[in-house]
Amino acid sequence: MVEILIMLAAGLAGAAFLLALVRFIRGPSRLDRVVAFDVLTVIAITFIVLAALVENRGIYLDAALVYALLSFLGVISIARYLEGRF
């Protein structure tokens, strides 16, 4: 029962991943690509949590912690570059 629900959640998150990837590849401006980058990072956090649930290993969540901190740093640096403030 729970395994089926986890598979369904992984399928939905995978569809969201593909849609964000379409926006990243097509994206007319660079800011569109930055938004897609942010969304892809957050979806990667969801993938990591699902993988930790499937494999039943809590140590995987540490990588998700690093992700949650570092997507912020990347987006801030890109935004500062696009404003020309470095």
């Binding site: 991943f17 990243f24 690509r33 993988a51 540490d62 990588a63 890109i78 500062r80 696009l82």
Partner: protein
């Protein structure tokens, strides 16, 4: 690995190829840097699925975070923040 992880890993591989293609074909340098950071991000998740969480953490911190930051910092300094 279970079925779910194999499916997600296949998706990530396709996404890595797509992001690498964007890196090669991009007209602007900033887009190429962003796509390279994305390749590094997916590689980190793949390392995690191969049961190496420490490598994945290092890759996420250095490859995806610090390298992207450093690239944009240097590009902003070199060109005075203007586009090419």
């Amino acid at each position: 690995m279970s079925m779910v992880l194999i499916a997600i890993a296949t998706l990530l591989t396709i996404a890595m190829i797509g992001a690498a293609w964007v890196t090669i074909r991009a007209k602007k340098v900033a887009t190429a840097m962003l796509a390279a950071g994305l390749v590094s991000l997916f590689a980190s998740v793949m390392f995690l699925f191969l049961a190496a969480p420490d490598v994945a953490m290092t890759e996420a911190a250095i490859g995806s975070g610090l390298t992207t930051f450093l690239f944009f910092f240097v590009l902003g300094r070199v060109r005075g923040g203007s586009d090419d």
